[in-house]
Symmetry: C2
């Protein structure tokens, strides 16, 4: 089943929905002209369609495995990775000083999205490296940068994130991995890390681990955590991979999906590491990496949504079943109202999620280019929404993709189930979607709701302006934003954070629903209210947007009655 | 991870929510005393907990396979099946004349639910047999009944349903399997059937296939379909399995889940079959079987919801992470608001789905006992809701179960993912949930909405009566039922069925949401408004019930704009 990268969709969203133009008008990103943007999207699309997508089923059917301590990757993955690396797709947004293209995160986000559609398992590898590049650019010494960044940017080496330990998952502060000073400026890292995506491979010269660990004098909790760079092979004086470090892959996990991507248990036995950033300040550096990765994981969900949608649509256009209920129908199941409803839902939600992610990326780019607090706040506010709604959409769309296939959807050979199995983890890793929602209602509202209100103001302003031209579309968006604002104010009035946490997940989803409506309206406005994007917007506003009211009722129920059942009652 | 069958929950629902007492007061079911009911539930619970649940992981890890044309089942499945058969659990509701217990379908439903929690793969086998028993009881000749029913009832033989062909899925009328008269009263069946659950096994003496096929003079479409009984081994004069029939298992499917249950491609090469019911009247007999199976599949979803809930709760009570946000908390993640929200949602929805299924079963029993059209209409109306909401709940709860586990949820060894992979098919087979919803808004409203309005009347009557004692619970149920009635009236006013079909799925879900509220209110009333069931009801009413408004907006959008995107636009 072929995949076609939706270049026109990215381009339309850039031009008419998230205003990439404002980014390319900054000095920092002046090279990101529309022509260059389009050339990059087109070139990446070709690789995704021709080289990467054929690897998707291969990876599922030939899982990565451990052989004598080395991870063996699925057939063809080495070539797929090479195409990504040599195309420069690891480092679209990396600094030119180390070989990157220095282009906007919006472009990286679009390309990551399409690589995710094509083959999610392999995409996770460069995604982790991108986060590492950004962390090192911000926090590493020049000496470290000079050795590592050119190799990471070129894709000759790749990077991983090592946070989780068996007893320290969402609670990173509970980690026990130790870092003992060696006396020569390096540290001896000892401990075990789990869930390390792409912890090893057989196609890059080196694998560079960013490891959270505690110095001997590190206080308990997150305040005592430092970040270390721990390469598989220690670079020699010429910067080439030298002596093997004291680390190993203990085992690979058997996962529900993403079989092509090795998820490693990593053992560090006094491995040599280099401090990145300041002592005890590892969480700050890690958050640089994680915020990047969170948007990236949101993009994974969106990419899978696109892939699953195209896959289901192809089936629905081909599968003949029953009589068509419409005049001039195709005769295939795409004519049936419920199938059409599912496909329209998939397409409308994929658009909404993509627009949110690209709006987040544009905010990051504007923050980078202008350094203003407003853009930083916007980027910070949108990141958990982009992550959670992007991945929830990926899961929901892949699930509908299975359903569109009927019985065939449950048969693995069809490939529909793989999308669902693969994408399911995206709601869990890089901070579960529950953690994202808690971040949204706590840290991201710690400005008193300024960033949130500013966003709702923009939504209302566009809706107000659209009232004269597209009243049928403007009115529901305006109404929904008012309801959302009430929900926001409810949250802000709760000083007890647990009251907010109780409804954080439905609140985040309600916010995403309304944001999605805002971007659909923008698309319709760009079309003058007629055309396929306007039709999709009308579908979304009439059928999907109304969900926000029930979500906000849920969101604002607080902890009232939440703990009314004791653990014994829950078990009864 | 142990499973504990929720015997008290079934008993409570029987006693206080769906009024099983009215069933046991009929002549037909006078034996179904509370004592007997409780004894049966307790006995079945023991088997599920001790014998069947240990097979769940085994079946996933040791899939059924085909060896020299015979299906080999996972280790222990033969013993598990034997426990089901010798316990009489295949035939709780089968007629005593052939060895059945003759007890209410409500009991069968409860026991199927718990077998599904314990091991879904194995449960699918007796579920298919139950449908076959019912079809034969209603439509077979006495000669057929005498040979087959005692063997099916005892579980020595088992039964399957053969509807689907490659080109005939939801459109059963497109089937091509032929039935040619042999001249001796039997027929030669020729064709290929797909997706045949438990099409063969290595632990029953015989496998009896009910096969839909077309006689030489059968008109096109469903009106030309007849039903045939086609045994793997043709019974000899003594009724024992004799000569092998001309049928074979061609292959097994590789599925997303349910690995322990062989899903067969069956080939019939002039296999000897016996007509069941009248010529060209196969669909009617098949619907007897399918209605039974639809409620049963709904029960599969509920059973998996229960299993996944218990599994996730055990993890949440055990897993220490972060600081507890509540006074006197356990310190485990069950204390965290979002985890608690998920667990409460899982429990509240499992209750709602279970009550709906048991109310449907009680309606079937009252139909059986009284023969009144009202009970028949109630049973018919509730069946698609029980099927679709039961399975949607199974999937949603299993999905939340994965999420509660965090990273562990994605690792297969944990078992959380298996619940999700196993139950996913339940929204597809026995008529996709889209087909269920179309059945609800078309055939089940073809009485002009009489059955639907009668049900809403009951909901309102209970809410009215509860106003004086539990106003905080009664009011939202009453309001919701009014909104639902408006949605129902919208549906009834649409003579173009495709207008109804466009919103059938959200309409069914909205109806289930309000029904769930009704049964939660009944539970709270039985407790006098205080106690854990009342607390669960309050949770449901405040947080989950509000979903119905958005669903009804979706449901009543009709085909407006649904087809605004052409196939080319959809592909753009």
């Amino acid at each position: 089943m072929p995949y076609r990268a939706p270049v026109d969709d990215y381009q339309f969203i850039f031009d008419h929905v998230v205003d990439l133009d404002q980014v390319s008008q900054t000095d920092r990103f002046s090279e990101a002209t529309p022509d260059l943007t389009n050339a990059i999207l087109t070139e990446a699309a070709r690789m995704c369609e021709d080289v990467l997508h054929p690897l998707q089923r291969v990876g599922d059917q030939n899982p990565a495995y451990l052989e004598n301590g080395v991870v063996r990757t699925p057939p063809g993955f080495a070539d797929g990775y090479k195409a990504i690396a040599t195309g420069g797709w690891v480092s679209i947004s990396a600094a030119p000083a180390h070989g990157g293209m220095g282009l906007p995160m919006a472009l990286t986000t679009a390309v990551n999205d399409m690589i995710s559609s094509a083959c999610l398992s392999i995409q996770l590898n460069p995604l982790m490296t991108q986060g590492q590049i950004e962390a090192l650019e911000h926090h590493a010494s020049d000496a470290i940068k000079d050795v590592y960044l050119p190799k990471l940017v070129s894709g000759e080496w790749c990077g991983t994130m090592n946070l989780t330990e068996a007893q320290a998952g969402s609670d990173v502060g509970a980690l026990r991995t130790k870092a003992d000073p060696n006396g020569d400026g390096t540290y001896a890292i000892t401990g075990q890390k789990i869930y390390i995506s792409w912890g090893d491979n057989d196609f890059t010269e080196n694998v560079c681990h960013l490891v959270l660990a505690r110095l001997p004098d590190g206080p308990a909790g997150t305040k005592g955590i430092s970040l270390f760079l721990v390469p598989k092979y220690i670079p020699d004086d010429t910067g080439q991979p030298g002596q093997a470090n004291s680390l190993s892959v203990v085992s690979l996990e058997h996962k529900m999906g993403l079989h092509g991507s090795p998820t490693c248990v990593m053992q560090y036995d006094g491995a040599t590491g280099w401090l990145i950033g300041k002592e005890h300040d590892g969480m700050r550096a890690m958050f640089t990496m994680m915020n990047n990765a969170r948007l990236g994981v949101g993009g994974q969900g969106i990419g899978v949504a696109e892939g699953a949608y195209q896959h289901a649509l192809a089936y629905a256009l081909d599968r003949i079943q029953g009589r068509t209920p419409i005049d001039g129908g195709t005769g295939a199941i795409v004519d049936h109202a419920d199938v059409r409803r599912m496909l329209m839902t998939m397409k409308a939600d994929a658009f909404a999620a993509r627009a949110i992610a690209l709006a987040c990326a544009v905010a990051i780019d504007m923050e980078t280019a202008t350094g203003t607090a407003e853009w930083a706040a916007r980027a910070a506010f949108l990141t958990p929404i982009a992550k959670a709604f992007g991945t929830d959409t990926g899961i929901a769309v892949a699930d509908m993709g299975v359903q569109v296939h009927g019985g065939m959807g449950y048969i693995e050979e069809t490939g529909a189930a793989q999308y669902l199995r693969d994408v399911r983890v995206s709601a869990i890793y890089e901070g579960t979607n529950g953690i994202q929602a808690m971040d949204l209602v706590a840290r991201k509202l710690s400005d008193g709701g300024e960033a949130a209100h500013a966003l709702i103001d923009e939504i209302e302003a566009q809706a107000e302006a659209a009232r004269s031209t597209l009243p049928d579309l403007a009115e529901p968006v305006w109404q929904a934003s008012e309801t959302l604002r009430e929900g926001l104010d409810w949250m802000l009035a709760r000083s007890d954070l647990n009251q907010r946490f109780a409804g954080a997940v439905p609140f985040l989803r309600a916010f995403a629903r309304v944001l999605g409506a805002h971007y659909h309206l923008a698309a319709a406005l760009a079309e003058g209210g007629t055309g396929p994007r306007s039709a999709l917007a009308r579908f979304y506003l009439a059928r999907l947007l109304p969900e926000h009211e029930g979500l906000l009722a849920h969101a604002t129920a607080g902890t009232d009655g939440l703990y009314a059942l004791s653990p014994e009652d829950l078990s009864a």
